[in-house]
Amino acid sequence: MTELTERGGVLVAIDDHPSNATTLQVGVALGRALERTVTASHIADAAPASVREAAEDAGVDLQVRPGPVVPTLIDVVAAAEVAVAIVGRGQPERGDPPAGHVAVAVIEATATPTLLVPPHTTAGLDAPLHKALLPLDGAAETEAAVAPTVKLLADAALELVVVHVLADQEVPAFLDQAHHELESWGREFLARHAVTESAPRIVLRAGMPGRNVLEVASSEAADLIVVGWSQDLSTGRAEVVRLLLADAERPVLLVPIEPDRRAT
């Protein structure tokens, strides 16, 4: 994963949906931030005019690959030259799963970090991407998964804000003076788990993890949310990711945890 993110480009998967323009704009903004080549990819025998025009408007090359959409797109996204894939989140059916079936298939199948873009996001449209929110739960496997991507973002001078939602079992035994204690606690959490030397800030919350991450993303005006996950959206799993995909107004960058490091 480290090698991949260090040398790859940004690939934006587009179809002929009207939200393509947004997805492409986010892709271009990310490409600029990372100083990586941005390429649009369309899976079909031929690209319709709307797709060609969208790519042209965005100023990116368009690659057209024939074949069945899902497996072909998975192959394209998984290619070695792709550092980050960008896929429209799509419209979920009945809200479960919380993303379109193509997006779900891609994020569950590939090891490539994939940015899911909500149809109506404004991130990156009017201004460069400048801030990424990094929810961390303190699990080593999550940190290992997101570390290369976080380095990529940090090298691109994006401001990183770590958010940690205290689980009941990790509530400090003592909280003498909350304003000092939580500062110390957060400082140490960062020192142990921040996965980057770029000195991010930390925001601590207590309560429902997903809802808190959404609120912090909003209050911090983050451009995107970076989440490590185990690529399993089945019912009862990945509650935070499901909520973020369903309700986040900003793109969510899903970074798979390597299968052999996932918690059972």
Binding site: V171, A173, Q177, A191, R192, A199, G207
Partner: protein
């Protein structure tokens, strides 16, 4: 973290490594002094290097001299090791933020080549105040570091290696967001001409400083001895600091030169002797419970290392061991740290009070600004004694939250007065009763007199405060605050009419000179009318005591709150406000820490006889111990109530807060208040020690089954008093002139304190204690 076993390799025995006697060709005795192995009961040993624990370990292994502290970061200053050097009471501040500790120049840096396969351990020798490091592997390396207790401001580190070390690495690390070091490439000091480089060509003297609101200056000298592929590096550092000014450099370098002239061996010897002296007056032993014994000594070591015994001592909540709590001084210092020092080294407790006294001008100004008289002390104190508590914080639900402690937690005013009086009772120091520190009792009492409200029925109230139980803010008639105020008013009134209440001849602390002060005591007297008013207010002040229940109401309306028990929330200790949210906790009877119960600990004579049991029964089930100060106080009270096993369990919790990094915040520094509380639980709780105007009270209680004995040494008005509680026999060894108040049960089964002159032996007779025959 473990007690070293007796089979631990002896780094000085010649077999441990090629470093056996060091490559300096020193006398064997000198090498043995530098490379002492861990001592059971006296050494905190940490093995290996866990990057996740580096910062917490650095706090645990801090060495300090009361003025300057050096965290136990390794010489190579590993990533994330936070090599802080702290000076008491010296801060920096950026606009919009609160004052925070100013990191001083890191003086101990040395390039020690990495060796991931090496077997490494470090240990803090509590008895001698030396941090040792030993590494075995591809090459051997050892170091010994101390902050001289004999010469505060001087720090020493000797490193030896069986390889040649890189001399370029002895420069202090630079860069990093927290490092503000300014390196003087060419120190503008004429004295640098006097380092005699011509005599020691390998020498290197360096002067550096950091500046914020105040300044810390360090002069360092490094002596390299490299022969036959081996290296010995002696690093000497001299520090000076000032809270608001830049100290002159000359004296810093002069002190360094004096230290150099003495030599490292002598410095170490002096230091060891100084620590031996401190321990002689603060001995603690718990035969049968070595883990608690070591944990307690660990705490006492850091308490002694955190408070200067000259000038003023700003003892922050984390002492000199880390930047946590912004280095601010809270009531922890006065109520939890000071009593141990007052009972063992009163020049340090006096220095702590001097810190408060020198900031009375700001307290006076604040009181005036709030339309009050006298002095109102800050909840959080830093540079000048103005309120340093931030006004807002972000709550865990993301909302902006007012921090009300700075505005409402007023009991600090009475706490400091109590601390001053406590210091006086232990030491006999007339500086409190007849000197400038009298203002700490008088001008603060004047504040209360202007703050209290007297209703038409004559009752007196204190409305809109926060007590120690900070789960309940802006309450009326908090029992703790009101009773402490009542005590304070009466004590101040007594001081104005009868002086210190010490008997003739008993009010001399030879070790302490009376200070002349700077005029702060000018207002430290009151006329008869004012004294009468204080007494009237004290008499009318409601204290929440309900004679029918036999217990106190924590504040007006407490009993109407949801009677939520701690056990319904979780397994204490726990931060219930995080688990349940602030509003829910505030609407319940959950208690963060001892509030009413703290009165029984601090001013038991102010409370009705028998109310401790009722208050314990009432409040303990609701107490979640969400404050690190709480377990030790409850341990003390449970010991008083004859519940030793419960007491020991809480005592263990308190004693290991940092050793086990229970809060996950030890990286930010050590919980000095909890450490002081542990001593109090042993001294006040199990031994029943109390300094009284007419003698030292000794009122022992049953010990936990595991303890074979409890041994403690204190100083009472200049005399050393050694106590040994051996379950059914308590020996109090002291000079024949020491007045002791011991409990004696008469034929009518009532127990009263009887004044005896020491030494004395008490024998258990059923539930009673009786002096041995002939006394």
């Amino acid at each position: 973290m473990s007690e070293p076993d007796s089979a631990a390799p002896n780094v000085a025995d010649g077999s441990a490594s090629t470093l056996a006697a060091g490559p300096q060709s020193q006398p064997a005795g000198s090498a043995a002094r530098w490379w002492r192995p861990p001592t059971p009961g006296w050494s905190v040993v940490l093995a290996g290097d866990d990057p996740a624990r580096r910062r917490a370990d650095a706090s645990l292994l801090t060495v300090a001299d009361g003025r300057f502290g050096t965290r136990g970061t390794r010489e190579e200053c590993d990533a994330g090791g936070e090599p802080w050097v702290l000076a008491a009471g010296v801060y920096r501040q950026v606009p919009g933020d609160i004052p925070r500790p100013l990191p001083g120049p890191p003086w101990f840096h040395l390039d020690v080549p990495a060796d991931d396969d090496a077997d490494e351990r470090r240990w803090l020798d509590l008895r001698r105040g030396v941090l040792h490091r030993e590494r075995r592997g591809a090459f051997g390396y050892r170091s010994a570091r101390f902050a001289s207790l004999a010469r505060p401001g001087i720090a020493v580190q000797r490193s030896t290696s069986d390889r040649t070390l890189d001399r370029g690495g002895d420069r202090a690390p630079t860069g990093g967001s927290d490092r503000t070091r300014e390196h003087d490439a060419e120190p503008p000091l004429p004295v640098t001409d006097g380092v005699r480089r011509h005599r020691w060509p390998s020498d290197d003297l360096e002067v550096s400083h950091t500046s914020g609101i105040g300044t810390i200056i360090a002069a360092t000298h490094t002596r390299w001895d490299q022969r036959d592929g081996r290296t010995v590096v002696d690093r000497l550092a001299s520090f000076e600091a000032h809270p608001t000014q830049c100290p002159a450099t000359g004296p810093v370098v002069a002190a360094l030169q004096q230290a150099r002239a003495a030599g490292c061996d002598r410095l170490l010897l002096e230091h060891e002797i100084a620590w031996a002296g401190r321990w002689d007056d603060a001995r603690i032993a718990i035969p049968g419970d070595p883990e608690l014994e070591l944990a307690t000594r660990f705490g006492l070591f850091h308490l002694m290392a955190s408070a200067s015994d000259r000038g003023e001592a700003a003892v922050g909540a984390r002492g000199l061991s880390g930047p946590g709590y912004a280095g601010h001084v809270f009531w922890d210092a006065d109520v939890f740290v000071l009593p141990f020092l007052a009972a063992t080294h009163p020049s340090s407790s006096r220095a702590m009070l001097e810190y408060r006294r020198r900031r009375l001008a700001a307290a006076r100004q604040r009181a005036r600004a709030e339309g009050r008289a006298g002095c109102r002390l800050p909840w959080e104190s830093a540079v000048d004694g103005s309120e340093a508590t931030p006004s807002t914080t972000v709550a865990l639900d993301g909302t902006q939250l007012a921090v009300e402690t700075g505005r409402l937690e007023e009991h600090i005013v009475a706490d400091v007065a109590w601390a001053a009086w406590h210091h006086h009772l232990w030491s006999g120091d007339r500086w409190v009763t007849h000197g400038p520190a009298r203002a700490l009792l008088i001008e603060t009492a004047r504040y209360w007199a202007s703050r209290l409200e007297q209703d038409a029925d004559g009752t007196v109230h204190l409305r809109g405060v926060i007590g120690p139980d900070e789960y309940h803010e802006d309450v009326d008639d908090n029992a703790y605050t009101n009773v402490m105020v009542r005590w304070h008013l009466r004590r101040a009134a007594g001081l104005c009419t009868t002086g210190g209440n010490l008997p003739p001849g008993g009010d001399v602390a030879e070790a302490i000179d009376d200070g002349n002060g700077d005029g702060d005591g000018d207002d430290a007297d009151a006329d008869a009318a004012e004294v009468a008013r204080w007494r009237e207010l004290a008499t009318g002040l409601v204290d929440g005591y309900d004679p029918r229940r036999g217990s106190h109401e924590q504040f007006a309306g407490y009993g109407d709150l949801e009677p939520l028990a701690a056990a319904e929330v979780g397994d204490p200790p726990l931060a219930a406000d995080v688990l349940l949210g602030r509003e829910r906790v505030a609407a319940s009877q959950l208690v963060k820490q001892a509030d009413v119960l703290l009165l029984h600990h601090l001013v038991p004579d102010e409370l009705p006889a028998g109310s401790l049991r009722q208050d314990l029964d009432r409040y303990l089930p609701h107490t979640v111990h969400g404050s690190s100060l709480s377990p030790a106080v409850h341990a003390s009270l449970l010991a008083r109530e004859g519940r030793p096993e419960e007491a020991a369990e809480l005592l263990r919790t308190a004693a290991r807060i940092d050793l086990d990094d229970v809060t996950g915040t030890t990286a930010g520094g050590l919980h000095l208040g909890a450490m002081g509380g542990v001593w109090q639980a042993l001294a006040f709780g199990f031994l029943g020690l109390r300094p009284h105007p007419h003698g030292l009270a000794v009122d022992p209680r049953p010990l936990p089954a595991r303890w074979q004995a409890l041994e403690l040494t204190v100083r009472y008005r200049g005399d050393r008093v050694r106590l040994r509680h051996r379950r059914d026999r308590v020996e109090v060894a002291c000079a024949a002139r020491v007045p002791l108040l011991v409990p004696v049960t008469g034929d009518d089964a009532t127990t009263a304190a009887r004044l005896l002159l020491g030494p004395v032996v008490l024998r258990r007779d059923g539930e009673r204690w009786r002096p041995e025959a002939g006394r």
